[in-house]
Amino acid sequence: MDIIVYLIPVALGLGLLGLGAFLWSVKSDQYEDLDGAAHRILVDEDKPLSDQSDLPE
């Protein structure tokens, strides 16, 4: 059962990692526009990948 000496801190550490990620996402305003974020991934600009003049001859 000595293994729990490692496992409990590891479990807590992983949990803290997730918590930290969540707090970061809250603080960086990622929950301010839930509708917009859902639509934004579908926005697809129809632009040429590169300027034609840059292409090699």
């Binding site: 059962m1 409990i8 479990a11 807590l12 949990g15 803290l16 997730g18 918590l19 969540f22 707090l23 809250v26 929950y31 301010e32 526009d33 839930l34 509708d35 917009g36 639509h39 934004r40 579908l42 926005v43 697809d44 600009e45 129809d46």
Partner: protein, 737 residues
């Protein structure tokens, strides 16, 4: 997504919102500048989908000097950063030309405070949830190893749980402790007092158990209690912020700027809130007055339909007073501001609003009543259990454990979630149907309505006249004159005739009509006496006369048309047993006609704003729960007096802020609001019933000493889950929309 977006098509490509191009004055007063970079926040209406996002951001981004344009689809805010000479109006025009309504947005401090409160609660909730998951992990192993686990191991696991729980209780629990402390200091108790007591006692007992090597520690129960309570608190804060944001959004529509004439004769654009008494204001044709003005120069027709309910314009000239909300129709006017914007309301209306606010503040929500029952009940039960066990010879330690487990298990989780979850689900449901709730408790008041009072102009009717007489070629001739005028009757002729040419040498005579040349011949379009008609008896209701060079006159007759769904809505409301009446400031014949068409027996015409409020207080006194629906400044007092009130989206800002909800679209919204509210109230009552039933089972178990931490955990999560799932039923059922 962009594949089917046609950038030339105005408005939202998904068709979810109609295109609009309303643009509010000069926006340069709302630009903030920092280090050469100018920032403007616009409130965009009508953007509903990803197509709108890319259309607006791309087009605005193409304007020269623009560094970035970012649109928030949830609240319709567009933030633009740019450098150089580009003006704010160019940016607003660009969005407006794409088919969206634009107004300036300035965030106030209350919105910021609400946002930081919501964020605080979300963070506290996340931390409590993290602690709960980890403590539960340890608790499950304690429960699972019951009887086999050595005392040292159990003690260690309890110890770790306690170490996780302590900082979390202090950090996430502070919301409750602070509020409970504040309440106790003022000598009364609120919901947070029993919550704080349960949290502290549960933690204290668990520490004692851990130190003495006892079998049961309640760290998991106390953190779970905290977590569920924070969920309820968070939902409540979120709903309040959303309703507040909706209210603020409406106020933003009125974020107009106006033109002030300086002493040197220079015209300067200022924000409406910068106006001071005595400022000379220039009111262009087509502009709506933001402050009360005493006209000093010029003469023009003004549309006062939002102020008095009168559907026909009147002429105003120097020396007369022009009230805020009036629309200047034909000629520029110069006037002196009679006060700042906040003073520009008729003082009696402001007084009535205050009276209404006070009345509403006294309204007791179901949740308040439930808490008032709950708090003494729980404390008495816990105290009685403590005394009873002592009398029966149990140790003080055991009696305390019983009392604490009673406090924990009769947990207010279900109670804390019962109302907020239902309100959040209902307001989201209404929001999707174009109805913005301005307060959560309004739902309960809407559910109690038994009588409806409706304003006529702009509420039952469209508020704009339509041509009802039949014409041939003369319609196109008249339209050539009408196209030059902003008078509502002229606009109605143009609407009937469609696009076309404009006549030459147009001269508009304020309050009289338009004179112009077509093909070298002189024509007139205007009031009967102006064109030379003495017997105007042909027409009932508003009319215009058109005379040609031959002197023959043709009448054009108009009518303010009913909202398309007015009849259907009213008949279905009547079927539900509600009574209705019309309260209008308009002329008697106009009101009688509408009342007849809609089969409404009670109607009052030519009612003054005070008269409207008096009628409402009479109805209140007779014990009726009245729903007031109105849009004008003259309705504001009545809206505030009513048990619950609704305003259409095009209403005056004061009417919108006096009402509980604002709807867009037709009158069908009334039915939706009432039905959803009734269902929400039923669900809330069910939820409180479920919470009570749960307590009926839980209390005997706790008092008799059968609550282990495992039982507490299961009971708490089960009751919270049931209440939440029940609230989600509001969304279902198409029959309720």
């Amino acid at each position: 997504m962009t594949a089917f977006v046609d950038a030339t098509q105005p408005g939202c490509p998904s068709g979810l919102a109609p295109p609009s191009t309303s643009l509010a004055g000069d926006l340069s007063a709302f630009v903030r500048e920092k280090g050469g970079v100018k920032t403007l926040t616009l409130s965009v209406r009508g953007a509903k989908c990803g197509g709108c996002l890319s259309k607006i951001e791309t087009k605005v981004g193409e304007i020269s000097g623009v560094r970035g344009a970012r649109m928030n689809l949830s609240n319709g805010k567009l933030v633009v950063n740019w450098v150089g000479a580009t003006s704010a109006d160019q940016i607003a025009d660009c969005v407006s030309n794409l088919g969206y309504g634009v107004s300036a947005f300035s965030e106030d401090s209350s919105a910021k405070a609400a946002k930081s409160e919501e964020r605080d609660l979300l963070i506290s909730m996340a931390i409590a949830a993290f602690a709960l998951a980890n403590i539960m992990l340890l608790s499950v192993s304690v429960w699972g190893g019951h009887g086999e686990m050595g005392e040292q191991t159990r003690k260690a696991l309890h110890g770790i749980s306690g170490l996780i729980a302590l900082p979390v209780l202090i950090f996430s629990g502070r919301h409750f402790f602070q509020s409970a402390f504040a309440a106790l200091r003022h000598g009364h108790a609120n919901m947070d007092v029993p919550i704080s007591l349960a949290l502290i006692l549960a933690f204290g007992v668990s520490v004692w158990e851990t130190v003495t090597g006892g079998a049961h520690a309640y760290f998991d129960a106390s953190v779970m209690l905290l977590c569920f309570l924070l969920v309820g608190r968070f939902l409540d804060a979120r709903l309040r912020r959303q309703t507040q944001a909706a209210a603020h959004e409406l106020a933003a529509l009125q974020n107009r700027s106006l033109n002030r004439l300086g002493r040197d004769g220079q015209v300067e654009a200022i924000r409406a809130d910068q106006v001071q008494k005595g400022d000379r204001i220039l009111l262009a044709a087509g502009e709506r007055a933001v402050v009360d003005l005493k006209v000093t120069q010029g003469s023009s027709g003004i549309d006062e339909s939002l102020v008095s309910g009168e559907s026909l314009p009147r002429t105003i000239s120097a020396g007369e007073t022009l009230y805020a909300g009036s629309l200047n129709l034909d000629q520029p006017l110069t006037g002196e501001a009679l006060g700042a914007v906040s003073d520009s309301l008729l003082s009696q209306i402001a007084d009535m609003l205050e009276a209404g606010e006070q009345k509403r503040a006294r309204y007791r929500q179901i949740a308040d009543k439930a808490v008032a029952l709950y708090v003494p009940f729980v404390h008495t039960t816990a105290a009685l259990a403590f005394i009873a066990w002592l009398l029966m010879g149990a140790s003080v330690h055991y009696a305390i454990i019983i009392a604490v487990s009673t406090l924990i298990i009769t947990c207010p989780c279900a109670l804390a979630l019962a109302a907020p979850v239902a309100q959040v689900v209902a307001s989201g449901h209404l929001f999707k149907r174009g109805i913005f709730l301005r307060s959560g408790d309004a739902l309960e008041r809407f559910a109690e309505i038994d009588h409806i009072v409706l304003d006529k102009t702009g509420t039952l009717t469209l508020g704009t006249p339509e041509l009802i007489s039949e014409h041939g070629a003369e319609l196109n001739l008249a339209a050539q004159l009408a196209r030059a005028s902003r008078h509502p009757l002229s606009r109605a002729i143009v609407a009937a005739a469609g696009p076309g040419p404009i006549a030459d040498q147009i001269k508009e005579h304020p309050g009289l009509g338009v004179e112009a040349q077509i093909g070298g011949e002189s024509y007139r379009l205007g009031s009967a006496d102006w064109v030379g008609i003495e017997d105007a008896s042909v027409s009932s209701g508003p009319s215009l006369w058109f005379t040609g060079p031959d002197g023959a006159s043709i009448p054009f007759r108009f009518e303010d048309q009913l909202q398309s769904d007015a009849r259907e809505t009213l008949s279905s409301l009547t079927q539900q047993g509600l009574t209705a009446e019309i309260l209008s400031g308009d002329r008697e014949d106009a009101v009688a006609k509408i009342a007849n068409t809609l089969a409404i027996e009670t109607w009052h015409a030519k009612v003054s704003p005070t008269g409207k409020a008096e009628r409402l207080s009479d109805l209140n006194a007779s014990g009726k729960n009245v729903l007031m629906v109105g849009d004008g400044l003259n309705d504001a007092g009545a809206l505030a007096m009513a048990h619950a009130s609704l305003a259409p989206g095009g209403a005056m800002d004061i009417s919108q802020s006096a009402s509980d909800a604002v709807y867009s679209g037709g009158l069908g919204a009334i039915r939706t609001v009432l039905n959803v509210s009734k269902k929400t109230k039923a669900i809330m009552l069910q939820n409180f019933g479920l919470a009570a039933a749960y307590n009926c089972i839980a209390v005997p178990i706790a008092v008799t000493g059968h609550v282990t931490p495992l039982v507490a955990a299961i009971a708490m999560s089960a009751s919270s889950l049931i209440v939440t799932l029940n609230a989600l039923r509001i969304k279902g059922g198409a029959a309720w929309t």
